[in-house]
């Protein structure tokens, strides 16, 4: 049975384009143009993944509200924010509401589809813990490549998909400097340098929240970042 994806987007053209592309990859798509419409539908039936725009018609923060409602209905449902807004403030707010990822509309359709696939995989594996593990270990860091989980000293670091991919890109070859373009490629996002900087800042904070003395990510000025062991 095809997976069911809810797409909440107020711009008709974008909605149709995304829906077409997602359908083409074998998913079922339910599209909604406003928050009330979507939340009514969710009360009847939950989708398996939701892609939410933040500004919805008359409600500039409608997506945030919807995300909160959806999280209340299901703790595990993967949620992706897809928004034209790219300020740190919006990104942090969105992720704090429990979204699994936050994408700006610069993202290309193939990248979006890769994320959808990854999130489904993570959800499936989380449901069946006995699945075979594929783990990268770098000192206290363990990266579960199947479940997209980052573990530092046996404590789970709650990373978004984008952040996980960035940590993975860095930790795969410790000591190698990854520049911003490479990180973007690995994380399947297209953003500017400033956004990468704030992503890295957020990742550091999340690790520091788990282990106070964390300093494994090194800034190499003018070049990029590297993983220190």
């Amino acid at each position: 049975m095809a997976k069911r994806i809810a797409l909440i987007e107020d711009d008709a053209a974008i909605r149709a384009n995304y829906a077409d592309a997602i359908k083409k990859h074998g998913y079922d798509v339910a599209t909604y143009s406003s928050r009330p419409e979507a939340s009514n539908a969710f009360k009847l039936r939950l989708p398996e993944l939701a892609i939410i725009d933040i500004g919805l018609g008359q409600e500039p923060e409608g997506g945030f509200t919807l995300c909160r409602e959806l999280r209340a209905l299901s703790a595990t449902l993967p949620i992706i924010f897809l928004s034209a807004r790219d300020s740190d403030f919006d990104i942090v707010s969105g992720l704090r509401l429990g979204a699994d990822d936050y994408l700006t509309k610069d993202v290309s359709l193939p990248h979006l589809l890769a994320r959808i696939a990854a999130l489904f995989r993570r959800a499936e594996l989380a449901a069946s813990p006995q699945a075979a593990e594929e783990i990268i270990e770098r000192g206290p860091l363990k990266l579960d490549m199947k479940r997209f989980l980052a573990i530092w000293s046996d404590k789970v670091v709650d990373l978004t998909l984008t952040e996980f991919w960035m940590v993975h890109a860095l930790a795969k070859f410790p000591g190698h400097v990854k520049n911003r373009d490479q990180l973007m490629g690995d994380a399947k996002i297209v953003v500017d340098d400033g956004t990468i900087t704030s992503h890295v800042k957020r990742i550091r904070k999340k690790f520091v929240a788990v282990a106070e003395d964390f300093d494994a990510i090194d800034t190499v000025y003018g070049m990029g970042y590297r993983w220190k062991e």
């Binding site: 592309a21 610069d106 400033g194 800034t219």
Partner: protein, 581 residues
Amino acid sequence: MFKIGLRTKLFVAVLPLFAIPIVGFGYVREMEALLKEQQEQNLITAARTIATALHDRPSLLRLRPKDPVLQKEKQEAIKAFTEPPAAVASSGATVVDPATDPASGGAAVVNPVARPPVLPTPEPEPPNASDEVTKIISGLNRAKSRIWVIDKQHQLLALAGSLKAAPEPAEQPNPYSPTSLWERAENLLLRPLYERLLTVPTEDFDDSLAESAITNGPEVERALTGIPAARRRATLDNRAVILSAAHPIWADDDVVAAVVVEETTNAVQSFTTRTLEKLITGTLLTFLLATVVLLAFASRIAARVTGLRNEAEAAIDANGRVRTIVAGSSAGDEIGDLSRSFSQLLERLAQYHDYLEQLGSRLSHEFRTPITVVRSSLDNLKMHDLPDGAAVYVQRAEQGISRLSAMLSRMSEARRIEAALREGEKTEYDPREVVAGSVEGYRAAYPGVKFEAELREGLRVFGSPELLAQALDKLIANAASFAAPDTPVRVVLRQDEMHAMIEVENSGPPLPDTNTARLFDSMVTMRESQAEGAEPHLGLGLFIVRLVAEFHGGNAFGRNRLDGSGVIMVLRLPLRMSFKL
């Protein structure tokens, strides 16, 4: 240009007020004239009174000139004090008129007042009529006046009184005796002025006069013809004015003699002088007070206006950006109004400026949706089987949309950096690490450009190393794109007094002279042309540099090399002072 301040203008504006003391002066003069007139009338009245006392008493006047010897003696006695001292001196005589002897002083004067009764003493035998007359006129005499009685032959019959005040021992009823501090100050400061400006009447004048000058005076002449008359004349030494009134003495219907009453105008004069002194003192005081008040007022206004000017000037920096809003004054007057409207004006200007600076990121946000439509459509299109030759157009469309998208994200980058600056945490760091690391990175990133670095160690600045690196990226990108082929880009970190200076220098076309300050504004670019296919320049790079510099408490500016062969962009960051020595 010669500038006239408010104070000067106000001062000039009150100058017409000086007419008030001048009018006052004229008034006093008028009054003086009136008083003199009155004095003259009084004198004539006095002369008439005396004359009346002597009317119809020819016996008193008839004795002369019975005894020529006696008369001779008398004449000489009179002469002794009526003759001018000069004449006495020239004759070699030792008689000195004490009144005119400056050495003797007022107190030592042996006053002629004492003399007239002495005069007749040498001739005791005859029933001395002249003596009688003298007694009468002495009785009628007033203070400070002198009375002559002259017969028809212009011969002096009697003389009484003196023009000068009696020399009293306690003769300092000086109206100016310093009794209080104020008067003493007035004496000290204003007295010299008064003495220069005003004729202070003096008792120290020469009142001697040739007898003939009196006896033959025009007023006497007229009185002897039966008409009372008055005359005004200066003393010989010109130090006082003597007023004389003559009145005929009648015996039956004939004029037998004339009475001449003399008085100085000193009383009137000194009254006028005192009034004028009071006028001047009062005027000076009033003007002094008014000047102080006006000066204080004008200074206050000038200070407020100057303060407002300075505030308004400080409110807008060299780039025309509003730095601080003038705090509207709460004063209710026009200057307060001005300050408030300045405040409003600047606030609106600041809002407009904000709007302009936000415009880029707003546009980028608004454009993102249509771009997404185009991009997702293209992505979908690629999933279909396209006819041969169509793929290249899809590719071109994608390139175009990517460039547009890159531009937009660069536009929002400035805003994102501003946001990062707002919540930016500051740390102390050595800029050398950042600059050195960055230069290493640039060597890899710009393989075609040679980098030279000259970096000083041990400087500490306070801010964000990430942001500094970002700013440096922009400066280097800027320099690399402008650098003439095969010339190095030079990066220098040095100390300039209290600042760390990061200079990025490249050979190439110099900056235009105008607007170098605006280079660091949002959406300002000075590039004249750009290479085909190069990344578009939105003029945001240097704006970001400026934001980062300001975040560090410093500033950024660009200048040309002295020889015009290139451009130096400078980041000037204040040093963090360590208190360890």
